[in-house]
Amino acid sequence: MVGLAAGATLMVLVPLVAIFGYLVYKGIGSLNWNFLTQIPKPVGETGGGMANAIVGSGMILLIASLIGVPMGIGTGIYLAEFGKKRFGYLIRFTADVLNGVPSIVIGIVAWSLVVVYQKHFSALAGGVALGIMMVPIISRSTEEMLLMVPQSLREAAWGLGIPQWRTTLSITLRTASSGVITAVMLSFARVAGETAPLLFTTLGNKFWNFNMNQETAALPLQIYVYAQSPYDDWHRQAWAGALILIILIVISMSLVRMAASRGVFKGGN
């Protein structure tokens, strides 16, 4: 039994280590200060970097989180605390289907909702696409985490005359907070690497852009374009971009974990 478990662990670890190792091996050579601070050079010139794509990804993920996290947690609360009837079942089913929808389809949805309406590509459209993707992941996990909180804690709060909404926020959600944060981080990491939903929403950009309403570079897009190109220098930069994407995800996850362990999300009381 122990052998089997250890074997399974090994089988999970091997591809993980292999992927990360290969990324470091291929990418570390092109990773330098210029890569982090400069925008792409025109074709033919070597050097340049992905600074604009790093910032662009940050903007898109910020919008996505602003949409996905409150909606996802809100939906999860509804499902766990109130949605025991038919409507809840319907939402649960919808969320599960949405989870399985190919990300490019979500991209098309965001395109028709935002890009067609605005008549231009934008970081906002990409953020909407990724935000939509975050909702089902966060809501279903939040629901699971809340359902794991023993009913006796809710009863304890109700018994003190604490209203239902307050009980949900300050007792149930707070007790489940570490699980909910994990769910948020998982969904964040999942959408941070998405390329397809950004293809026709943010489009990409060779230059700096800090405007939410303009087409924007993003790391996965840049990697996608560079990897397909015929230039060796761009291939090397694509590897470096993939490495930096993973590193940034790890850093942001660690920051959130640290903040959580210091009680930043537990509220002022």
Partner: protein, 253 residues
């Protein structure tokens, strides 16, 4: 000070199951009343009807009237939240809030109801913990120790302190000592003895010696019906009903 409870024609259901039948009982203010009876006789359900906890269970239903002092618990203008502030409850299994310190557990009922004055809070927390005979054991680690890290008996006294902090008039205790060791049990019983000077106490118990020790009045429930309600002494020495006698002499249940 405590207030009396008048219950009239109380019926309760879980879906189609009729759990409590036509209960009529007058519970005296500032005394302890014990509810005894075999498992599944509806005594917990009955007590949970007194602070509108019963209705939190899906498909549960209540009919009849309950009056706490002058307030109709199931009246049109009465909110469940308001009733639960006046009628505190202690549960069978200690259930402190695991993410909160001892201090925050006791203050939770006030803080989460929007009570903000910190100096008052400190006083109320200390007074409640003293009333629950827990102060000396936790006073040095009030804000450092988590409520969940206390022992079972301490946790239950913490839950009592938490309920006392919102200054209820009635205290419902649903087998408060059944999950505890004998020493903790006797501490809880001493506590009930103290508390009943200022609160009306209704205690559900499996343990007949416990009922005899702490309560002036005892009600015997069987199959969802109130069989007999009288002074504890009378119930245990000279019961009026054959079924009560069978139960307390251990012939069934």
């Amino acid at each position: 000070m405590g207030v009396g409870i008048q219950v009239n024609q109380l019926n309760a259901w879980f879906g189609a199951t009729h759990a409590v039948h036509d209960i009529q009982i007058d519970i005296t203010a500032n005394h302890a009343t014990a509810i005894i009876g075999p498992s599944g006789c509806g005594k917990s359900t009955f007590v949970r009807c007194l602070n509108r906890m019963h209705e939190t269970i899906p498909n549960a239903r209540v009919e009849g009237t309950v009056k706490i002092g002058d307030t109709h618990v199931y009246g049109n203008g009465t909110s469940a939240v308001e009733i639960r502030r006046r009628v505190g409850m202690v549960f069978q299994k200690p259930n402190p809030f695991p993410t909160m310190s001892v201090y925050d557990n006791v203050a939770a009922g006030l803080k989460l109801n929007g009570y903000r004055s910190h100096r008052d809070l400190d006083e109320i927390v200390e007074r409640s913990l003293r009333q629950a005979a827990l102060w000396d054991e936790v006073k040095d680690l009030l804000k450092k120790k988590s409520g969940a890290s206390l022992s079972g008996g301490q946790q239950q006294r913490l839950c009592i302190a938490r309920a006392l902090a919102v200054e209820p008039e009635v205290m419902l205790m649903d087998e408060p000592a059944s999950a505890l060791d004998p020493i903790s049990t006797s501490k809880i019983e001493d506590l009930i003895f103290e508390l009943k000077q200022n609160y009306t106490i209704v205690i559900v118990t499996h343990n007949m010696q416990q009922a005899a020790r702490v309560a002036e009045f005892t009600a015997f429930f069987l199959s969802g019906k109130l069989v007999e309600f009288d002074k504890t002494e009378k119930i245990f020495t000279n019961p009026g009903d054959k079924r009560t006698e069978d139960y307390i002499t251990g012939r069934f249940g």
